[in-house]
């Protein structure tokens, strides 16, 4: 059988992948769009002036004849998958009046580490406005009608993603929120809010949240888990270069051990240190970020993600592992059960730990390679560096599978 050309995929091959790995409709839409555009140009730097002009065309369409003043445009770092530009807008803000609002444009490059829907991200952030700290959301250009690529515009949230104080004598790479450490004086307050927010997210009723771009998996079945495995199996087929037999083993293990969904929850899917902002002087979480992977599914997925050893580190005794660099796992689970009123099933939690490491290995080794190889992002050098994390995820996944065999 002839191997597919992954850098220039045929329509027939794309169709076969869609049929083989059914996923939610909107996710299918963005993955298909990615594959249809793959043979097109890579990412070319967009001058700030050009992007500014495009944003102004969006503002013109959204604000009509209302007078406004756009300014202070500058590039932002942070976020390994999306471009971010900060700017200010002096305008008549609905419900507020004339003000100068600090805003952020969050836009996809030609391809991302994670190909996601701006519409879903927009709906999720809207759904949690006033429930947990989220940045105020203003506009969504889901199909790149105005901007070069799909994008969101939201309000600038004050705060930082990692503490200014660093761990003494540490040489660990903390790029993209990996291995962060918090000084003891911040841990208790931040950990309490971290758990509280997660409990609120998981107990929010999805039925009145306006999540029209989401499919709802059937309760009492394994459909939720199956959609998840299909997603990452499909992405591996689309992106991977070098085969990894262990991933085939993992996919089989996951399918043989799929958990039944006992309750619908809205899932953030990237809930970890590095994806929330906080202010140091009062140890307060000011915004939960990066909702792009969110879905309606199983709460254990978020719990397993948050407790990943990649997103935490050892306490100052170098013995106790702290999830997110803040709190031991047993305390995290205990507090979560109390705050949410939801039980944690250890077997389902274990399954989602394997699943999450599976997804991270696919993302870092498969997708990071493919998009850097085709020059598809604004920071291929960062994406290439992240390939080096993949073996750690694979190793964690292997050890977790061995525990469950």
């Amino acid at each position: 059988m002839q191997k597919p050309d992954k850098n220039s995929p045929s329509a027939e091959w794309i169709r076969s992948l869609r049929a083989r790995y059914p996923v939610e409709a909107e996710i299918d839409h963005v993955l298909t769009r990615k594959m249809e555009r793959r043979s097109g140009p890579g990412f070319s730097p967009i001058p700030l002036e050009e992007l500014t002009r495009r944003v102004e065309s969006l503002l013109h369409a959204k604000l009509g004849k209302q007078p406004y003043k756009f300014g202070d445009a500058r590039w932002m770092t942070g976020g390994s998958s999306k471009l971010q530009m900060a700017f200010t807008l002096e305008w008549d803000r609905p419900g507020v009046g004339r003000e100068k609002t600090k805003m952020v444009l969050r836009m996809e490059p030609a391809e991302s580490i994670i190909e996601t829907s701006r519409l879903r991200e927009f709906q999720l952030i809207k759904a949690f406005d006033g429930i947990v700290p989220v940045p105020p959301l203003f506009w969504c250009d889901a199909e790149a009608e105005f901007l070069p690529y799909p994008a969101l515009i939201y309000g600038f949230a004050e705060g930082i993603a990692k503490p200014t104080k660093t761990r003494p004598n540490s040489s660990r790479n903390t790029t993209s929120g990996v291995g962060v450490w918090f000084p003891p004086e911040l841990r208790t307050d931040l950990a309490r809010q971290f758990v509280d927010c997660l409990a609120k997210i998981h107990t929010r009723d999805h039925r009145d949240a306006g999540l029209t771009a989401f499919d709802v998996p059937q309760l009492g079945t394994t459909q939720c888990a199956e959609w998840g495995i299909n997603l990452w199996d499909r992405i591996w087929e689309e992106d991977a270069d070098e085969e990894i037999p262990l991933l085939r083993l993992a996919s089989g293990w996951l399918r043989r051990n799929m958990p039944t969904l006992d309750r619908h929850s809205i899932i953030h899917c990237d809930y970890r240190t590095g994806n929330f902002l906080f202010t140091e002087h009062d140890a307060r979480i000011t915004a939960l970020l990066d909702w792009e992977l969110g879905l309606i599914g199983d709460r254990h997925q978020d719990l397993a993600w948050s407790t990943s050893h990649m997103f935490g580190g050892l306490d100052d005794d170098y013995k106790t592992f702290l999830i997110g660099g803040m709190i031991p796992e047993s305390k995290f689970i205990e507090d979560y059960e109390r705050e949410s009123g939801l039980k944690v099933n250890p077997k389902t939690l274990h399954w989602y730990k394997v699943y999450n490491n599976y997804s991270l290995a696919v993302m870092t080794i498969g997708t990071c390679y493919r998009i850097a190889r085709n020059g598809k992002t604004h920071q291929d050098v960062l994406v290439t560096s992240l390939i080096g994390t993949g073996h750690i995820f694979l190793n964690q996944m292997m050890e977790q599978i061995e525990e469950g065999l």
């Binding site: 070098e242 085969e243 037999p245 996919s251 050892l314 850097a372 050098v381 390939i387």
Partner: protein, 183 residues
């Protein structure tokens, strides 16, 4: 091993051209010149890396041919005779090396990829098949293979600083020596 030199070099060149060079102060001639030289040398590596091994093998072959051509050299000068004898000895050693280097690194990499793929296909077939005994055997073999390989992959990436506890990972030199016996 996915993080090979080709992809690293390509992403470094793109970062230099798209982000770093345009950001350098236009008055800093030294920085601009050196940044362009970095890109130039990185591009040279892109050009050289795929042929480096063959280039060295080709040179060695011609050096051996040259030495062998001189083996019949007739001379009354003892110092010339001695030097030619040394050349002959070294030529024999070099010829043995050349014989051991018959394969190309690209062939080695292709064989690795090919065998990974075939092993992955067997694993996938066993996972979706009905023979649970066969599945158990294949899983055990793949886990054993992966355990050793991942240790080497992680060791090779140690300088990146991702490992939560790098002291748990042996040095790559010792891991490679343990299996191949090569120093």
């Amino acid at each position: 091993m996915q993080l090979r030199s080709e992809i690293k070099l390509a992403s470094m060149i793109k970062a230099m051209k798209d982000v770093v060079i345009p950001s350098i102060d236009a008055k800093n001639d030294l920085a601009i010149q050196q940044a362009h030289l970095i890109v130039g040398l990185l591009n040279l590596m892109v050009h050289q890396l795929p042929v480096q091994f063959r280039f060295d093998r080709d040179e060695l072959k011609r050096l051996i041919d040259c030495a062998q051509g001189l083996s019949g050299l007739s001379t009354d000068d003892p110092s010339i005779g001695e030097a030619n004898k040394t050349l002959g000895t070294r030529c024999a050693a070099a010829a043995a090396v050349l014989e051991r280097c018959a394969g190309d690194p690209a062939e080695l990499t292709a064989a690795v990829r090919d065998l990974r793929e075939a092993t992955g296909e067997l694993m996938a077939a066993a996972a979706s098949g009905r023979d649970t005994a066969a599945l158990g055997v294949v899983e055990k073999a793949v886990l054993s293979l992966s355990r050793e390989q991942l240790l080497r992959d992680r060791s090779l990436m140690l300088p990146q600083g991702w490992e939560p506890d790098p002291t748990l990972i042996p040095e790559i030199q010792s891991l490679l020596q343990a299996v191949t016996g090569n120093p």
